[in-house]
Symmetry: C2
Subunit: 260 residues, 2 copies
């Protein structure tokens, strides 16, 4: 099942994608819904961010090759995380599929993509085992954790490096019923493949993160967990088109626009 | 003007506190409201967290004496932050006035209060000057940034050190029309004064944070900014009552309950 959020004449609605059409629903995938009789071609709707999360979680460093690459860039020895310690991103930075990534003019040239799997929580959970964890997932979408590396290194927090407005494209929709460890991520920059990896090469998987987080915090419907990226990343330049494809989900596509 | 959120028979409503009574409103302080004819004694209502923020910002280290104390605890030289780099906390951890702070049984004894001013944003803003900044503030409330220092030091992020469920008491209500630099904070632990400071001794004030943040991100109605605490902090033990009083606002009061 494919869930989207889209603009209607009256505001924003959840919809179910069936083939090439979107069926408008009353309600939402978390608290219950009814299909309406309204349907329109997917190609004609303006997609919105597929969920506005109560809390926006992000694994950060969670893939061995990415850790090794990042350490090398800093001239340090790589240190793999020993525990599934979750981090945070901010709501202001979320933009949907096809929305431009707008880079402030005082950014350095080190503005980079990070294509990654996004987990959408469907039901409240606390203290769940790894075996139970996926029962609390609604589905999966795609995120691009855009990062300004100079700010990431120099600032005390990642507030502007990772949470500048438009730096968190997410979408295009949420797909239910997937096994996360079967998924494959491919990232292209202006049609050149710049990275690809298997989700299952993560240091800590979806089940481990949900189980570990839920020992101390309550996950609630709509919360999202960005699972981190693998490999090296490259600079994006003005006019680039960055696409993150995940098998079984689709493609998240955003243009890069440098503020003049 | 004093805004609160409280439980009614039907759910949760915003209310305006007038003297010893709460007048129920339709709507909210951000998008508009109408007073209803329903009013009841403040002493009889169950207060809720006064706002659920879209994004929960926190200044973290923002007072010289607190920085000096924290560095000393780690055996390091104090380093004052050079810029107003904002951090984040998480929605799951918010609890209202009078709700217990529930400490997980695997926490160490280093569970400490941090009493601080909370800014509530009232209007969307981007790129505002320090002189304009307070025009975008709805009002102020009180926060207790409860912290487990062992986890804070040892984990890669502050996810459980600061965002375990119930670790972010906030309230009791929001007061409008205050000058933040006139406010004074007093923290008591089971009726013993354990800390007090002037808000204006912050390294970066409310105006500076809002203006700097708004260069890169859009602040929206309901966003909250926790301004950090000053001085040393002490351990709380099972059964302690921690109270954070801010002049002109009121007292945030929470009991400490250690999980058995």
């Amino acid at each position: 099942m494919k869930w989207c959020r889209f603009s209607t004449g009256d505001g924003i609605s959840y919809g179910i994608i069936e083939g090439d059409n979107v069926v408008e629903v009353e309600g939402d995938p978390f608290d219950g819904y009814n299909k309406t009789s309204k349907s329109q071609p997917l190609a004609s709707v303006k997609l919105e961010v597929p969920v506005i999360p109560p809390t926006f979680y992000a694994a950060g460093i969670n893939y061995p090759e990415h850790v090794t690459w990042a350490a090398k860039m800093r001239g340090e020895e790589p240190v793999l995380p020993e525990k599934a310690d979750i981090g945070y991103r901010a709501i202001n930075a979320l933009v949907p599929n096809e929305h431009p990534i707008i880079v402030p003019k005082d950014a350095t040239e080190l503005v980079q993509y990070e294509g990654e799997l996004v987990v959408v929580i469907g039901k409240e959970c606390k203290n769940v085992t790894q075996a139970q964890a996926l029962d609390y997932v609604l589905g999966y979408t795609i995120g691009n954790d855009v990062s300004e590396r100079t700010w990431q290194r120099g600032d005390r927090t990642m507030w502007r490096a990772k949470n500048t407005d438009t730096f968190k494209p997410m979408g295009p929709w949420i797909v239910t019923g997937l096994e996360p460890d079967d998924l494959h991520v491919t990232i292209t920059l202006s049609e050149r493949v710049v990275g690809e990896y298997d989700v299952k090469s993560a240091i800590f998987g979806v089940r481990e993160y949900i189980s570990e987080m839920s020992r101390y915090l309550t996950l609630v419907p709509g919360d999202i967990i960005w699972m981190g990226t693998d490999g090296a990343t490259e600079n994006m330049v003005d006019g680039d088109l960055v696409e993150v494809e995940i098998s079984g989900i689709g493609v998240l596509r955003n243009k890069v626009v440098w503020e003049k």
